[in-house]
């Protein structure tokens, strides 16, 4: 850090500890305000009519009966606001309400605002559509060929392909030709969804002053703000977006979503506030969850187990819309590029539209499925080479301050320390291949971006995160930023960074609710960007405030600012206990003639990536790393298995809030286990069979393993106080660790997720049929 950064060498006093969430007392007493807690005067109820058809042309509609129903204030179809939108500027193919045709069962085809819930739902039943059925496209493979009726006109050359990515670095064929060993894993992954606790909910209020206020459960207030403006045709400054507390997102609230825009449209139409609270089935249809995916991974190594090449293909089921899909298509390839050195790499990825609920970004977006196949493949290679799986990984670890073959800039990595910690803590050497039949341990590793280097709306002159501070004579420090706390603790981190830099009580710092009228732009909670980017912005703003306070103290102490020592809530001459100036004294002195002190801090990534097409995808200012060991205990007759323990070694750089990081890791292990053990969006053709939390099998509390968390990261040179992300990366290693542990336990490889008990039994039967004994069974 530079000489102008006086806190660089100071020991941390608050950060690094366990900091309870600043809003925690309000949440646990039910006082925190979520969107559904807000009631506006004269509020209407908004409801959505969803397509019962998987794919159909909307020929005509009769709204008369619905509009005539007493208590109905407005009925809208897609033609009123037909402008398409989408989170990525290059793929605007979503609509608030379907225009011309419905693209999946659940697609919104009309919206109603009424005096009460029942009237609104009755009105939906009275909307009469005349439709012409179109072919259903459930299988992405079939969609790669020419189809009779492409789901979107923008599909590639008459197919349903939304995006195709082809990349080649080095010479993969030459590398395979000289390989001592190679393996191939063909993975198959059911779609999973975020299943956040708080359902999607929005309130919109158009007011007679020509403004529109939208309260919404969102991770991306800024992107929502843009989409509302584009679709509704209002300048952004006439729209105000407010984000109350949010009950979880995991990527499921990281797109501007159609119901948010439909709700706003209903309010504009009626001139009254409209609340739209979606039920759980609605949330399943909105989805934007992890893509159902098939991938095909080949890895070549030399005789010592050094990776020579990856050859990767992915076929990604996008559902009805693009959402983040272009990014997903890149990520399914490029997020294979760590935590190992891979000198040659080839990738072909295709994301295909299907007539299913749209897929999008979900925690560890784009990295989860590809890492699973790679880590399972490496487990096979280690076995073939007679190498311990840890040794194979260690031999291939990406070194710090290196560049990958596709030009990712790797700065800090404590991956080797993750490996060492997980191996030691888990007692690996006493367990691997040594536990009795039915029990086993497995290793899985991961890495993830610590914030996407490129903002989605690429405006290179604007920062990705901005933080405003204001302190007036009362001594309270107000913090404004559009960073979106969705329960992960970013408000707490924001307050703690400010308190740390200023050496004041955390209770002085008040993070304000996100409100686009007053909050400076931060791009929101996605891509694990918040700690890194907002953290740096907050630190920068707080340093400016600190300088002003030090100047005030210096005046009172009659010494130059450079001689002032900043203590906790007090200032003294360097090295002396007296005389002391309190925080308020320094503040009031500093306010002389200027009034309230304000400061702006901002963070912008430096340019990254090569110059080839798609080079920016997957670039980040830093990366997290992980090595997890899972232990499993299989009932070899029923195929039921338990995961009694997971050892989670994680490198998130320097830990700033240990409590929050541990929570993120425990939650990630649970979410990862869900995708391994039972979560799947099941379909009959393109009809979802289980849109409920009873039949979508999130693991029960009894299935949750003990998680031993090993935080081993060294400070990152560019992260705020040395920190990197801990929100998404912690999920990734869970999945392959469990799968590899199952192999150690019962000698069966699993390449299809979820690994339900019936699949375990079938795999055991197949292994016996092959006459391949394992651990004597």
């Amino acid at each position: 850090m530079t000489a102008s950064d006086p806190v660089a060498d100071e020991p941390l006093t608050l950060l690094g500890g366990r900091i309870p969430y600043v809003e925690g007392p309000l949440k646990v007493t039910g006082r925190a305000e979520y969107t559904d807690d807000i009631r506006r005067p004269n509020q209407l109820v908004g409801r959505l009519l969803r397509s019962p058809w998987p794919h159909a042309r909307l020929v005509s509609v009769d709204l008369r009966e619905a509009r005539a129903l007493p208590g109905v204030a407005a009925v809208l179809t897609g033609e009123r606001y037909p402008t398409p939108f989408g989170v990525l500027p290059i793929t605007h193919d979503e609509t608030a309400i379907a225009v011309g045709k419905a693209r999946y069962q659940g697609d919104i085809i009309a919206a109603v605002a009424a005096e009460d819930e029942r009237t609104a739902e009755l009105a939906l039943e009275k909307i009469r559509f005349e439709v012409a059925p179109l072919p259903e496209y459930a299988d992405p493979e079939a969609g790669t060929r020419t189809v009779a009726e492409p789901i979107h006109a923008r599909g590639l050359a008459g197919t349903n392909i939304q995006k195709e990515v082809v990349q080649h670095f080095g010479d993969v064929d030459a590398a395979f030709a000289k390989a001592a060993h190679q393996v191939r894993v063909r993975g198959s992954f059911a779609g999973v969804t975020h299943a956040f606790t708080e359902p999607l909910v929005t309130i919109a209020e158009a007011t007679p002053d020509g403004r529109l206020t939208v309260w919404s459960a969102t991770q991306v207030p800024h992107y929502l703000h843009r989409a509302l403006s584009e679709v509704l045709g209002l300048p952004m400054h006439r729209i105000r977006v407010v984000k109350p507390e949010v009950g979880g997102g995991f990527g499921g609230k990281s797109d501007p979503l159609p119901h948010e825009i439909a709700c706003a449209a209903l309010s504009l139409e009626t001139g009254r506030p409209v609340k739209m609270l979606l039920d759980r089935e609605d949330v399943f249809y909105t989805n934007h969850g992890r893509h159902p995916t098939r991938n095909d991974v080949r890895i070549a190594v030399d005789g010592d187990g050094r990776i020579l090449a990856y050859d990767v293909e992915a076929l990604i089921d996008g559902g009805a819309w693009s959402s983040f899909g272009t990014v997903t298509t890149y990520y399914n390839g490029v997020l294979a590029m760590g935590p190992y050195r891979v000198p040659n790499f080839r990738y072909r990825g295709r994301r295909v539209y299907t007539t299913k609920p749209p897929s999008g970004a979900m925690r560890a977006h784009g990295g989860t499925n590809i890492r699973y196949s790679i880590e399972v493949a490496l487990d096979q290679l280690a076995e073939r080479l007679g190498l311990d799986p840890f040794e194979l990984r260690a031999r291939n670890a990406l070194p710090p301050n290196s560049t990958t073959v596709n030009e990712f800039r790797i700065t800090s990595t404590s991956f080797l320390k993750c490996l060492e910690a997980a191996k030691r803590a888990s007692g690996w050497s006493e367990k691997f291949r040594k536990l009795p039949f039915g029990r086993g341990v497995g290793l899985g590793c991961g890495f993830y971006i610590s914030g996407s280097n490129s903002p989605i709306h690429f405006t290179p002159k604007m920062p990705q995160s901005t933080v405003h501070l204001k302190v007036d004579m009362d001594g309270g420090i107000a913090v404004h930023s559009m960073q979106a706390d969705i329960g992960q603790g970013s408000n707490t981190l924001l307050a703690a960074i400010v308190a740390e830099v200023l050496h004041v009580d955390l209770a002085r710092v008040h993070v304000q609710r996100v409100d686009s009228d007053v909050s400076p732009i931060d791009l929101g909670s996605y891509s694990s960007r918040v700690t890194f980017m907002m953290g740096n912005a907050a630190r920068s703003a707080a340093l400016q405030l600190r300088a002003a306070l030090v100047a005030g103290a210096a005046t009172l102490l009659g010494i130059p600012p450079s001689e002032v020592e900043v203590g906790h809530e007090r200032f003294t001459p360097r090295g002396r206990a007296e005389p002391a100036v309190t925080f308020e004294q320094a503040l009031h002195q500093a306010m002389e003639k200027v009034g309230a002190l304000t400061a702006t801090g901002a963070y912008q990534t430096r340019p990254a990536g090569g110059s080839f097409k798609g080079a920016r995808a997957g670039t980040a200012p830093a990366y997290s790393f992980s090595a997890y060991v899972a232990e499993v205990d299989v009932d070899v007759e029923t195929g039921d298995y338990r995961v009694p323990k997971v050892w989670a070694a994680f490198d998130c750089g320097r830990v700033l809030n240990r409590l929050a990081v541990e929570g993120q890791i425990e939650g990630s292990v649970h979410m990862g286990l869900g995708q391994v053990m039972g979560e799947s969006m099941n379909y009959r053709a393109s009809r979802m069979l289980n849109p409920s939390l009873l039949e979508y099998k999130i693991p029960a509390p009894q299935q949750m393993p003990e998680v031993e968390i090993l935080l081993v990261g060294d400070a990152d040179p560019e992260g705020p106080f040395g920190a990197k992300e801990a929100g998404e990366g912690p999920l990734i290693a869970t999945l392959p660790a469990v799968a590899n542990a199952l192999y150690d336990a019962i000698g069966c490889r699993f390449t299809e997720l979820p690994i339900t008990p019936d699949r375990v039994v079938r795999a055991l039967e197949e292994r016996r049929k092959e006459g391949r004994p394992w651990k004597g069974a």
Binding site: R50, P52, W53, Q105, E117, R118, E121, D279, E281, E637, T638, G639, G678, R687, L689, N690, P691, L694, E695, K697, P699, A700, P701, Q702, Q703, T756, P757, D758, V761, R762
Partner: protein
């Protein structure tokens, strides 16, 4: 999803209840714990304009070692150690129902009479409408086994198998008075997922009677489901019996639920084992034979081939664990 309005009745005696049932014939449902009925109502499944709540009928509440009032709450039974000691298979089953929160409301009668379940039935009105409905509600065909006459919805209560192996009887009040029948007789073995009970219109389940002759049998109930909480059974196997000092079977009962439209007993298979010592081979053979007879279909989360296979494993295990007298 909104709940349509209904008229709620709160009778305070069995006689009043039966009278109401007669006057509301075909236009009401009994409301016990409501944990299954109300979610089904929200999905607009077979709505009735009247609900007759049973919570204020004193005769239906309370339990002893011989009698479980139909409105006994599962959580209350679960907390009674004397009941658990006397009826170990029942104690197992009680703990396996749904979640503690559901068991706080859920009742014995509700669990015995719980609506059969199917992927194509337990769905919202919107979802079912999009598929064209099914035999069991609003439609005229089956999406599990495509045909137009038989419903394959699965009986999904946990208590029934456990009570069947305790030779339980049920007391029923109706327009023509009271009757008491074996629990097996409550389920219509000749019916299907729709016509599943032998109750006559207006009849009310008053209580379950637990015969003293079966008390203290060793027993076990094993439940197959994806998660160890929340889920309805994908299979439930109950066993109860007595063994003499030489390990010879004195009496043995076996029942299976969660696999077909009604729970079943297998007396013709268990009776011949009386007087014999069970060993692994005998237990396995019984398991295979029961599995051969049980025919699940693909209308729950786990595939039917697997559920059928598990019948054999669960029967074998339940037998062995019951004989061991393993604490439930």
């Amino acid at each position: 999803m909104h709940l349509d309005p209904f008229e709620l009745h709160r009778p305070t005696s069995v006689e009043e209840t039966v009278g109401l049932a007669r006057s509301l014939a075909g236009r009401f449902d009994y409301l016990a714990g409501g944990t299954d009925l109300l979610p089904n109502y929200k999905m607009h499944l077979n709505l009735r304009p009247h609900l007759v709540a049973l919570e204020a009928v004193p005769e239906l509440t309370g339990h002893s070692l011989e009698r479980l009032g139909a409105m006994s709450r599962l959580a209350d039974l679960e907390r009674d150690p004397a009941l658990a000691a006397a009826w170990p298979a029942l104690a197992d089953a009680l703990r396996e129902v749904a979640t503690p929160l559901v068991r706080a409301s859920g009742t014995v009668g509700g669990n015995l009479l719980v609506e059969t379940r199917c992927f194509f039935f337990n769905q919202s009105y919107f979802w079912r409408a999009s598929l064209g409905f099914c035999l069991k509600a609003d439609g005229d065909r089956c999406h599990v086994v495509p045909q137009k006459t038989t419903c394959y919805a699965t009986f999904s209560g946990d208590l029934a198998p456990a009570l069947l192996v305790g030779d339980a009887e049920v007391e029923i009040a109706g327009p023509t008075g009271r009757r008491r029948i074996p629990l097996t007789g409550l389920y219509d073995a000749g019916g299907d997922g729709i016509r599943r009970l032998t109750l006559q219109p207006g009849e009310l389940l008053v209580a379950v009677h637990l015969p003293p002759r079966a008390r203290g049998r060793r027993g076990r109930y094993l439940k197959l489901r994806v998660r160890p909480a929340y889920d309805f059974p994908e299979l439930g196997v109950a066993v109860a019996g007595r063994w003499d000092g030489d390990g010879r079977v004195q009496e043995l009962r076996l029942a299976v639920g969660g696999a077909e439209p009604h729970p079943r007993t297998f007396d013709d298979l268990t009776a011949p084992l009386e007087g014999q010592r069970l060993n692994d081979a005998r237990r396995a053979a019984l398991g295979e034979e029961v599995a051969r007879r049980v025919r699940p279909v693909h209308n729950t989360f786990l595939v039917p081939e697997y559920r059928k296979k598990m019948v054999a494993v669960f029967v074998r295990r339940a037998l062995a664990q019951a004989e061991e007298g393993r604490a439930a």
